[in-house]
């Protein structure tokens, strides 16, 4: 039971922290205006 609680905690905390970092980074890069696949591939670089 304790293993499940620890794993659940890791999934929630690590998953949410990762997504928050992504959210912050994508806003720093700037809004996507060009939706062509090549432009999207170049966008985070």
């Amino acid at each position: 039971m304790i293993t499940i609680v620890i794993l659940y905690f890791i999934v929630v905390v690590v998953g949410t922290s990762g997504e928050m970092c992504i959210s912050r980074a994508t806003k720093e890069i700037g809004e996507v205006h060009d939706f062509r696949p090549r432009a999207i591939a170049r966008w985070p670089l």
Partner: protein, 139 residues
Amino acid sequence: MSGQPARRLKTLVMMIIIVCSSPVGYIFVSKGMKQVGWQGWSLPSIFHFFFQGFTNWTIWLGIGLLLAYFVAFLVVLSWADYSYVQPAASLSYLIVAVLAKYVLHEVVTPMRWLGVIIICSGVFIVGRTHVRSFEDLAP
């Protein structure tokens, strides 16, 4: 493409991609992993498990859909709030429950359906707000 209506439209399109590709991707991965099956912790079993996984087209189809989900998630986060995107993306739980019942033939209990309905209610409330928080505060 600029302004609030345009931003709402592109957010809607991205959210549709997120909400559809994520659960279907997970269903394919789940189906593929069950086809592969777990054979034990011995080294040959683990090698066989990974080999079977890498050569299973259902798993690759699922990975492709999850990649599409991730790209759409990144793109939408470039202009929308995380506190908007994450709850709105939870609508995929409804699709997961439906697909689990009819594709994977899992038993979805009334209690789980109740949970899904509560999640959908939350998604509806979040959907009534602006995609960027400062637009909510603007006069």
